[in-house]
Amino acid sequence: MPYLFDTPEQRRHMLDAIRIQHVDELFAQIPPEMQLKRELNLPPAASELALQQEMEQRLGQGGTLLKTCFLGGGVYDHFIPAVVDEITSRGEFYTAYTPYQAEASQGTLQAFYEYQTLISQLTGMDVSNASLYEGGTAVSEAVFMAMRINGRHQKVIFAGTLHPEYRQVLQTYFARLGTRLVELPHTNGVIDPKTCRAAIDAETTAIVIQHPNFFGCLEDVAALTAIAHEAGALSILAFDAVSPGLLKKPADYGVDIAVAEGQPLGTPLQYGGPLLGIFTCRNEYIRKMPGRLIGKTTDRKGRDCFALNLQAREQHIRRDKATSNICTNQGLLALRTTVFLATVGSRGLKQMATLCHQKARYAADLLTRIAGVSLKFRQPFFREFLLQTPRPAAEVLGALADEGINVGPDLARFQMTNIDGWQNCFLVALTEKRTRAEIENLAKALKEVL
C-alpha cells in the first residue's frame, strides 16, 4: 500500500476491538484449500517517481501529437478548451459517484440536467438521457427501445452506410435474439429511399440511418423517416455531434430517436475510450428510454432541486425487465460536454462546424486535383470524405504515416468488399484544428506517394 494510515498500535487496537490476533483470521471464511498460498505474480510495487519515469518512456511520445491527424471514422482530433479539463478535474465532480443521495449531489445533478438540456438544444429532440457508453452501443440500445415501443421484434433495417463497427455491435447484440438485421445497400454512397421502401414492412421495428454517414455523405433523412413512419416503424438517426452547428438538427428531419458519439464535444481520443453516448428521443417515449435521467422537482420546503428520475425502469429495480442493463453513465464525459457547450455556445459550435466543413471542402478540392485521385462518391459531405487513389490504400497510408501524416481508416480494415475498388479507398477527416499548411502538406505528400 502506498498510503500509510494507521500505526502498528492503531492496528493492534483495531484487531483487539474485533477480538482477533491477526488479520488472517478474518479470511478464515475462505476455505483453506481455496486460499492462495503464494504472492500474486505481478511486478513489484513502483514508487510514484519510478512509475512516472517509466511511463514517460513508454507513453510520453506518440498519440496524435507526433503526426498530423486526418483520421476519422467516428472520433476526431478536435480542440478541447482548457476550461474543460480544469473544471472536470475538480475532485468534487471527479470523485463523486452516482447521485443516489440527491442532497449530497446537487452539483452533479444540476450539471446533468444542464447536459440533458444542452443536448436537447443541440438536437432539437424533446429529451436526452444523462448519457450511455458510446455511439455504437447507443445505436443498439435505440433499436431495443424501438422494440419496446412498437412491440416488433422480428426485423431491423439498417443503412449500408452505417459505421461498420456500429453494425458489428448491432450484430453481436441481436445475434441471439432471432431478430433479422437487413442491410439497405447504398447507391453511390447514400441510401436511395426507394430501396428502403422496398425493404420495409409491417414487421420492421425501425430503420437505422447515419447522417452524415460513415463515408461522410449526407443522407435524405427526412424521406427515409417518412417511409419508416408510413410502415409504423421508428426512425433512428446516428448523427455527427458537431454537425448541428451547420446542418439541420436531428429533430428537423422528424426522427424518433437520435444518437451520437459525443467525443467531438470535449472528450480526448484516449484510443477510443471512454467516450460519450448521446441518446435522445421524443417526449412520448421517455418511459421506454434506457439509461439514467435527471429530473427537476421541488424539495420539502418547496425549493427547486434535481434528482434521479424514473428510476423504476432501471436494472436495480426492474431487474430482468429493465429498459437496459446499463448501471453507469459516462458522467465525467457528460460533464466535459456540458462545460464544452457552455463555453463555445451557439456561435462557437457554428464556427467549429463551419471550419470543419470548409477545411474538408478545401482538402477535397486540393487532393482531387492530383492525377488519379478522386472522391469515391460524388455527393455532398460535411467534414469527411472517401478518397480513391490508384494504389492500394494500405500502401498509401503507410507512406503518408512515414511523412508524419495519419489518414484513414481504409475500407480494407472493415472488409468492405462490396464497394468497387475498396482496396484503394480511405477516409479523410477534417477538424477545426487542421491548418491550411497541414492540408497543403497532405496534398503534397500524397502526390509524392503516388
Binding site: Q35, A45, T64, Y94, Q101, C327
Partner: protein, 487 residues
C-alpha cells in the same frame, strides 16, 4: 455563503451576444454555395445553446461542485461501490500523449507503448483472477456481464448444446438479471438463502440440462464469502453449466483467493472498484472479463497479442469471437488507471489493500453492532449490511432517515435498501483508504444519530442546500429539460 447567482441554470445566465472566443478565423477559402446542401441540409436558424463568457462558466461550475460530496472531500462508505481514494498520480500519467491522444485507427506501430501496457494488463488480470482468457473490451461491469454471457452462449452453441436458463440468488445485483435477459436467456431467481448464502438444496432442484450459467457475487452482497462456492461450482459443472462470478466485490480478496481457484469460469472486473478510477459521478467504468481457457476463443474482438520474434504488439480477433460489443478497443483511459494502480501496489500491496479493506470493515462492524442490528453475523469481508429494522419499529426512524442525517455530520450515506434480502438495509463499505480516526468518527456519528429524537432525524438533512426531493411528483410529471419561460 452560497453564491446563488452562479448556481442559476446556464440557460438563465445566458444573454445573447456574450460568449468566449475559442476558434480562429478560417485560413482556407470560404465556401459560398454548397450544392446539394444549401436548401436541403443547411440549418435555417441558430442553435439555442446558451451564450456565456468563460469566467462565468467557471464560476458556475466551481460553485456547483461545492454542492457535491466526493471521495476527495468526504468519507463515502457507499457499499458495493468501493469508493476508495483515486490517486492523483494516475491522472497525470493518463494524460501522457500516447494514452490521451491516440486515435483508435492510428497504425499499431505508432502505439507500441500503449499496446504493450494493455498486453501486460491482460496478463495481470489473468493472474489476479486465476482465469487465463482476458478481454479488456467491455465498457463497464454490466457490459462485462453481458459479454461473458454471450461468450458462454457461443461456447454452448459451438458444442450444439441448447441451454436457455441463467440462475442467480435473490441477493444478486440488478444488472445480473438485466444482462441475462438482454443476452436472450431466461432468468431464474432462487428464492432461498435465508442465512445469506446460496441454498444448495434449492439450487439442486433448479439445475438440469437447460442450465447455462449461475451468476453469483462472491464475496456476496451481504459481505460474506460463499462458503459452499466449491460445491456450487461442482453442481453446476455436473450438469454442464458454467459459474459466473460477479466481480463487484473483488476488493476483498485480492491475492487471498481467486475466482479461478474457487470454481468460477467467468467473471468481470469493475476497474474503478477493485483497482481505482475516478468514479466521476457515475462513470465511466471499464468492465474487463476473465474466462477459462476453453472460453477464450469466443471472447470479443479485439485482444492484444505479442509476437516475441518481432517484438511487436498488435490487435487480433480470437478464433471464434462473438464480435464487438462496443465501438473501438475499450475504455482505455480507465483501464490504464487500473494498470497504474496494480503497478503501484504490486502483488504484496494488492493483498495488503484487501486485508486493510476487510480489517476496516470488520472494525467498523465491531463499533456499530451494539446499537445497530447486523443480521448476518459479526464477521464480514470488505463490507457489511446493517439493518435499521428494530429502530424503525421503535421510533419510526428508517434507514433512509439515518442516511440523510449522516449527511449533516459530513459523511456520505451508505448504500441503502440493498440487498433486497435485508429489511431496512444499510450497506457499509469503508474501503482500505480510510484511517482509524475516520472510522471512529463515522461510528460515533452513527451512534449519536441512533439516539437522537426521531423528529430531528426524520427531518434530515438540515445542513444541505436542499432536503428530500419530491420524487413522486417528479416521476408523475417529468421535467427533464429546461425550457425558456413563456413571455
Amino acid at each position: 455563503m452560497r453564491n446563488q447567482t452562479a448556481t442559476q441554470l446556464l440557460f438563465e445566465m445566458s444573454k445573447a451576444g456574450r460568449g468566449t472566443i475559442v476558434f480562429p478565423k478560417s485560413d482556407v477559402p470560404a465556401v459560398t454555395s454548397i450544392p446539394g446542401i444549401d436548401n436541403v441540409h443547411l440549418a435555417t436558424e441558430p442553435l439555442p445553446l446558451p451564450e456565456i463568457a468563460e469566467p462565468d462558466v467557471v464560476r458556475h461550475f466551481v460553485n456547483l461542485s461545492t454542492l457535491n460530496m466526493s471521495v476527495d472531500s468526504h468519507f463515502y462508505p457507499l457499499g458495493s461501490c468501493t469508493m476508495k481514494y483515486n490517486p492523483k498520480r494516475h491522472e497525470r500519467l493518463a494524460r501522457l500523449p500516447q494514452a490521451a491522444t491516440s486515435h483508435p485507427y492510428q497504425p499499431e506501430d505508432q502505439i507500441q507503448g500503449l499496446l504493450s501496457i494493455l498486453f501486460e494488463m491482460q496478463g495481470m488480470l489473468a493472474e489476479i483472477s486465476g482465469l487465463p482468457g482476458i478481454s479488456l473490451h467491455p465498457a463497464a461491469g454490466a457490459q462485462g456481464e453481458f459479454t461473458a454471457l454471450l461468450t458462454a452462449a457461443a461456447y454452448f452453441k459451438d458444442r450444439s448444446e441448447k441451454r436457455t436458463r441463467v440462475l442467480f440468488p435473490t441477493s444478486a445485483h440488478g444488472t445480473n438479471p438485466a444482462s441475462a435477459a438482454l443476452a436472450g436467456f431466461e432468468c431464474v431467481q432462487l428464492a432461498g438463502g435465508r442465512n445469506g448464502f446460496v441454498d444448495l438444496d434449492e439450487l439442486k432442484t433448479q439445475l438440469d440440462d437447460r442450465t447455462a450459467v449461475f451468476m453469483v457475487t462472491n464475496p456476496n452482497t451481504l459481505g460474506l464469502f460463499e462458503r459452499d462456492i466449491a460445491k456450487v461450482a461442482e453442481m453446476l459443472h455436473g450438469v454442464g453449466g458454467l459459474v459466473y462470478i460477479d466481480g463487484a466485490n473483488m476488493n476483498a480478496i485480492l491475492g487471498k483467493t481467486r475466482p479461478g481457484d474457487f470454481g468460477g469460469d467467468m467473471m468481470h472486473y469493475n476497474v474503478h472498484k477493485t483497482f481505482t478510477g475516478p468514479h466521476g459521478a457515475g462513470g465511466p467504468g471499464a468492465g474487463p472479463i476473465a474466462v477459462r481457457d476453453f472460453l477464450a476463443p469466443f471472447l470479443p474482438a479485439p485482444v492484444v497479442t505479442y509476437d516475441a520474434a518481432k517484438n511487436e504488439y498488435s490487435l487480433s480477433t480470437p478464433a471464434k469471437s462473438i464480435g464487438q460489443v462496443r465501438t473501438f478497443f475499450g475504455n482505455v483511459g480507465i483501464l490504464l488507471r487500473g494498470y497504474f494502480y496494480i503497478r503501484t501496489l504490486g502483488g504484496k500491496g494488492l493483498r495488503e489493500a484487501s486485508e486493510n479493506a476487510v480489517l476496516n470493515a470488520n472494525y467498523l462492524l465491531s463499533q456499530v453492532k451494539d446499537f445497530l442490528e447486523v443480521p448476518h453475523g459479526d464477521r464480514c469481508m470488505h463490507e457489511f449490511v446493517a439493518s435499521a429494522r428494530k429502530i424503525k419499529e421503535q421510533s419510526g426512524v428508517t434507514t433512509m432517515d439515518i442516511a440523510k442525517r449522516l449527511l449533516d455530520y459530513g459523511f456520505h450515506a451508505p448504500t441503502v435498501y440493498f440487498p433486497l434480502v435485508v429489511e431496512e438495509a444499510m450497506m457499509i463499505e469503508p474501503t482500505e483508504t480510510e484511517s482509524l480516526q475516520t472510522l471512529d468518527a463515522f461510528a460515533t456519528a452513527l451512534r449519536t444519530i441512533c439516539s437522537e429524537p426521531a423528529d430531528l432525524v426524520k427531518g434530515a438533512p438540515h445542513s444541505t442546500a436542499i432536503c428530500r426531493p419530491d420524487e413522486v411528483n417528479a416521476a408523475r410529471k417529468p421535467v427533464l429539460c429546461w425550457s425558456a419561460p413563456e413571455c
